[in-house]
């Protein structure tokens, strides 16, 4: 394979700083993978404006992963494999090369064709057409970046996925959906009352969330296609913490209707409530395992908040976190082998992971105001809420802790992010 040589440089940490910026958003990248693939992205032929926009998206995506570095393509403009001068690219140190063309059709449709070439072996790796509706230019870029990422790393890309989060500007709350890089924001709900805990349906068609618009916490389910929504749980007290099962046939929610905060199952239409936990303690933040058999959740049944695991069908409850500090907000890794959570100690919040086998906590971040982590669907990145310069922001960290990025939106506090499924 093209890039297996990279483990040879152990102990040296490559650092990169890169920024992608426009009027709306600033993204800072800190750190880098152990080895970064040197790749050249040549501006596509055809429509120059479209070509530049696509290149910006592809470059931004690949840089943010921390696994690539860009080789200068200055003065070179091949658009088809036959036009490529491999010795020149080898001289520039490129291992891979992305070239292509893009055209806008009369109906607004955008067609791109791109090639990924192995500059060392002088071989074609990908030859593919990608097209999109008018206005979906960024989606083309994300799709190309996904294909390049997948070919060169062996892992599926997540550049074409979406995230949901809550944006708070003074007393205004907005439930937002955006591309995984924070661009292309869309407002799902906007109001003067708090919104909490968005949760994606497994097919990406619906969001469940908590809204205070009627004066207390009520759980709603809303279609992202039609905008239609319905009440999932509205009992006295608090209704909160919705989490979809992997098959989309039920949700876990937290209700106080029978006393303290307890976990229940309910169908997506709001029928068939079934209580799962029976304690006087706080049991909250349920999260399904990918096989749908288990829940991780936060409970203070042992005196302070820690992570626990229980089988859906019942049986013993297992405590998962021990040691100093408190732990919150567990979320399974997509392969089901571990989970990510918020660790609080000495006045700081950290993002941490734990493997079910080793039971070791691995802290991934420096600590600060870091909360509510969730995995990208490929398990390689984790998104969480952080704080910088006095504002709530979105941030990601690679699952090995090496690469971090911070996403600054235009205004307000970004809170409660959650990574959506593959499209």
């Amino acid at each position: 394979m093209l890039l297996r040589a990279f483990r040879s440089v152990v102990g040296i940490l490559f650092l990169v700083q890169a920024s992608v910026t426009n009027a709306e958003m600033t993204i800072e990248i800190i750190g880098a993978g152990e080895y970064q693939v040197p790749v050249a992205i040549v501006p596509f032929g055809g429509d120059g404006k479209l070509a530049q926009a696509i290149k910006d998206v592809v470059v931004g995506d690949l840089l943010r992963s921390g696994l690539f570095r860009m080789v200068d393509a200055e003065g070179m403009s091949p658009h088809a494999p036959a036009e490529v001068s491999y010795p020149e690219w080898q001289k520039r140190g490129a291992e891979a090369l992305v070239i292509g063309t893009v055209t806008a059709k009369a109906d607004g449709r955008i067609d791109a064709r791109f090639h990924l070439l192995d500059a060392v072996k002088q071989a074609k790796l990908i030859d593919q057409a990608v097209s999109a509706e008018d206005g979906q230019l960024r989606a083309i870029g994300h799709r190309i970046a996904d294909l390049v990422y997948e070919k060169l790393t062996g892992d599926r890309g997540v550049f074409n996925t979406r995230i949901a989060y809550v944006n708070r500007i003074e007393t205004k709350y907005k439930l937002m959906v955006a591309d995984s890089d924070g661009y292309n924001e869309q407002v799902v709900l906007s109001q003067d009352s708090p919104i909490m805990s968005p949760s994606w349906s497994p097919d990406g068609s619906h969001l469940a969330y908590v809204s205070f618009e009627t004066g207390h916490a009520v759980v709603y389910v809303q279609s992202l296609y039609t905008g239609q929504r319905k009440v999932l749980a509205d009992f006295s007290g608090s209704n909160s913490a919705p989490a979809w099962s992997p098959d989309g046939k039920q949700l876990a929610v937290v209700l106080t209707r029978d006393g303290s905060s307890q976990i229940y199952l309910v169908r997506p239409d709001g029928s068939g409530f079934r209580r799962l936990t029976y304690t006087d303690a706080i049991d909250t933040e349920p999260n399904f395992s990918p096989d749908g058999q288990y829940l991780l959740f936060t409970s203070d049944r042992g005196g302070s908040p820690e992570i626990y695991r229980m089988a859906i069908k019942g049986g013993s409850v297992q405590r998962m976190t021990f040691g100093e500090g408190n732990n919150y907000s567990p979320s399974h890794s997509p392969d089901g082998k571990g989970f990510v959570y918020t660790h609080f100690t000495n006045g700081k919040f950290f993002i941490a992971t734990q493997d079910f086998k080793t039971e070791q906590m691995e802290i991934l971040t420096e600590g600060g105001w870091e909360k509510k982590p969730s995995f990208a669907p490929n398990g390689k990145l984790i998104m969480f809420a952080s704080e910088a310069r006095g504002r709530g922001i979105l941030a990601t960290v690679s699952s090995d802790g090496r690469v971090k990025q911070r996403i600054f939106s235009q205004s307000g506090d970004a809170r409660e992010p959650v990574w959506g499924p593959y499209p």
Partner: protein, 177 residues
């Protein structure tokens, strides 16, 4: 605890960031704040002697007396605690007495938390704080139908600083008439 690393934290000063506002989190206004009681932290007065507060003639609602213990309408808590503290018991008991003598009056008990912990955990904790006050009021003779509870968790902070002075203000249950 291993490879956190990425030793150099490089912060680019980009044009976009230069225009950053220094600090801005603003509390959601307490839309349901009690109109009558700005709840100053007045020293917990002893029960006002009935003789000096009012002449026997007119019916004066003790609730509107700023010198009454009933003017205090918030209980406060240590971090991650929902048990009513000794200092706050007299005020809860005073409200219990008042409400049991005024069955026509209703209250909403609003639980709040500081920003530490997860939002969902704090929502649950705030609910437990409010429920704790309800329980004490009920034991003091208040009818369950006179009370509702709600938790705002950490979502409606009264003070927005990242320090104990703010957190202390935010860890509370408000008794709202």
């Amino acid at each position: 605890m291993k490879k956190l690393v990425i030793s150099v934290v490089l912060v680019n000063l980009l044009a976009a960031c230069a225009s950053e506002k220094p600090k801005e989190p603003v509390a959601a206004p307490m839309s349901a704040a009690p109109a009558a009681a700005p709840v100053a932290e007045a020293p917990a007065a002893v029960e006002p002697a009935a003789a000096e507060t009012a002449a026997p003639v007119a019916e004066i609602d003790e609730l509107n007396d700023p010198d009454s213990i009933l003017a205090k309408r918030s209980t406060h808590y240590p971090f991650d605690v929902s048990v009513i503290q000794e200092d706050d018991k007299p005020l809860v008991q005073a409200h219990a007495k008042y409400l049991s003598e005024h069955p026509e009056r209703n209250v909403r008990l609003e639980g709040n938390c500081d920003e530490r912990g997860s939002n969902e955990y704090n929502l649950a904790l705030g609910q437990r704080r409010a429920d704790g006050v309800r329980k004490m009021l009920q034991l003091g003779g208040v009818n369950a139908s006179q009370m509702t509870t709600v938790s705002y968790g950490e979502e409606k902070p009264k003070a927005t600083g990242h320090n104990e002075a703010s957190w202390w203000q935010n860890r509370r249950t408000d008794i709202v008439y």
